[in-house]
Symmetry: C2
Subunit: 388 residues, 2 copies
């Protein structure tokens, strides 16, 4: 068996973790709408999250996959449960204002005898709409369980870490390819085409899966705006070019960002680089079992401040299994107020992006908390890349 495969005991352990959290919160059943949580609990993998679907976990037995009838075929080919626990709804419910798929989910809970108690739903998740909630609330007692399953995913198994290591090899290959191909005058979409190609070909003998976010590759002033996507303008000398990308192996993400400057970087970019490097060193010295998320942020922000820089936004977040539109796990954030204690097996994207008045610098690190401290998952040099 491939060391990155999940065996049945792993799925059983995941289900036990979810059920323990359900018991803690007094839930009799749980409806998971987050595709990442659905996949983590059952193995389900398909681009079907644009229609209503869910995994339901009742008080006992296997989870139930529920979705559009045509996607039940995909469920049968990817989940560990048997056919009795795969339930499809009729296609006439798809995007039809006359009726709603959640009517059939409510009926399923009644049929299974799970409709009488407190039912958890992920109220603040993409793909669990206000309308879905209103329909279910017509016949069920709903309780907000946002993040319940996400938190169970925080500590990764050995097989999950192996997937993330493979993803790390892929993102390294993508950055190496960028350094080979990028040159002044190259239209940005030509570079993005190479990034997508390289990420999909994979690395180290392992194929690349699609990322939950497309490559973010802004240049110059556009790099002051972190989430713009590409166009066909040529790359220019005297500008910083961001590459916020992820390698992905079987839905597990390893994001890493680097910045490339054509020509001699202005002094402020060198000062920003030095500040980020020293602040990163402070983080790597602080992170490890027992430290908290906000202590990491404090180590970073304190060092940054001594260099005269300031960052308003969080400096990192938990990563792992994900689907669009976000590769974060939406649990821990490296910022003030997050007192979560780090434990071995947690993985973060440490994300010390600085936005300057005419561009920005991103030199980020995916990090694994180990028994004794912290390990960088990638081996790329932590520096501003320069081509002159």
């Amino acid at each position: 068996m491939d060391t990155a495969d999940f065996d049945q005991s792993e799925y059983a352990a995941r289900l036990a973790r979810i059920r323990a959290a359900m018991a803690r919160d007094g839930l009799d059943a749980l409806i998971l709408s987050d595709p990442s949580n659905m996949a983590w609990a059952t193995g389900y993998d398909g681009w079907s999250f644009y229609v209503h679907q869910a995994v339901v976990i009742g008080p006992e037995g296997a989870p139930v996959w529920w979705g559009r009838a045509m996607d039940a075929a995909g469920a049968r080919r990817t989940v560990w449960m048997g056919d009795d626990d795969i339930v499809g709804y009729d296609d006439s419910y798809v995007q039809n204002p006359q009726k709603h798929p959640m009517e059939t989910l409510a009926a399923l809970l009644v049929e299974r005898g799970w409709s009488g108690g407190r039912v958890g739903v992920e109220m603040d998740n993409y793909y669990y709409s206000a309308k879905a909630h209103a329909v279910l609330a017509g016949s069920l007692t709903l309780v907000d369980a946002t993040g319940l399953a996400n938190w169970q995913r925080a500590i990764k198994s050995a097989a999950e870490i192996e997937r993330m290591r493979r993803a790390a090899r892929i993102v390294e290959a993508m950055h190496r390819r960028i350094l080979e191909v990028a040159e002044p005058g190259l239209p940005k979409h030509h570079l993005v085409a190479e990034i997508l190609r390289t990420g999909t070909l994979g690395a180290g003998g392992h194929w690349g899966d699609y990322p939950a976010i497309v490559p973010m590759t802004p240049s110059g002033l556009d790099a002051t705006a972190p989430h713009l996507t590409w166009d066909d303008r040529p790359m220019r000398v005297g500008e910083a070019h961001f590459f916020e990308i992820a390698g992905v192996y079987r839905r597990y993400h390893c994001p890493q960002s680097r910045t490339l400057f054509f020509g001699e970087p202005p002094a402020k970019y060198r000062r920003a680089e030095a500040a980020v490097q020293e602040a990163t060193a402070a983080v790597l010295a602080t992170a490890g079992p027992g430290a908290t998320c906000e202590e990491i942020a404090a180590a970073f922000n304190g060092t940054l401040g001594r260099h005269g820089f300031h960052k308003d936004s969080r400096t990192g977040y938990s990563i792992g299994l994900s689907y669009p539109p976000d590769w974060g796990e939406r649990t821990m954030s490296l910022r003030r107020g997050d007192r979560t204690e780090l434990k071995p097996g947690m993985v973060f994207h440490f994300m010390p992006a600085l936005w300057l008045d005419d561009g920005g610098i991103e030199i980020t690190e995916p990090i694994l908390i180990t028994e004794t401290g912290v390990e960088r998952l990638c081996t790329l040099p932590g520096e501003l890349f320069v081509k002159t």
Copy 2:
């Protein structure tokens, strides 16, 4: 000016269409959470929909862009409104269970004097979560306005159709590249890497944008499950291979699917091909101004039935501007019960996919309703592709 650019009069006309629908439905303000609707109304374009954001349309004046503070920079670079109508919220609201970004949106409506009346929200949209609704409902009178803005997008302007024609050239280039590269033994992810590269390089001198759905490329039995994504298994002789892909030009999609068979196709595939071809001809003869969506579906299903085939799911949907996770407009469906009348400028993905017991066949057509009938946007032959 590029004929695919939108000038200010086009945005003014869009806003007038939305306000007319608001008046019809008795809405004093409208909150758009669908990134496609946000882009259509304002030009906003960024991969920031993984955090809460919206465009608010009040009783008069310009729309207001509202989102994460760091994305306000992207708004300033993409929307047509001025800085006064771009409002960012503090980063501490991001994915923080202690507080919710919608608290700041509610405050914005109060500040603008728009909080007293009936406020429309897109209750059944991705990105408008049950939690977002609950927070807003604490201080506003909310009315379901799902689809209100989507419906205004149904009839495309000349500039929009030009974008879709450019996207059509791109998807044709992608299919031609597939036919060049695909061969027995080729690992699927190698082919997908080429598809992504070709789609991004674009065609006809126009760059390619990211599709709202990644390439769907199932083979053989996996093709009975329509939404599985790729892996590294080699393509095999004696199997049908689906390619459900879209060319995209500046967020406008032209999806088209084709099926490739290695070796001599079994008779049932040839029968399915003939049935789909004849049913498509029936659709092209029926579609045009005045016909209804369900008449198109009836023309298709009737012809298919005479060939002994049957399709449960809808045979097409409206297309145009889109963001992940769906390239459909989520308004019109070509199926029984949808009595929407076709009008010039509407564009559909006519999607006669047939799933067989050991695979499937997809030969689909993006079609534009014209003044006199219908026009195929793509020129690829409507046939089962075969490589022997």
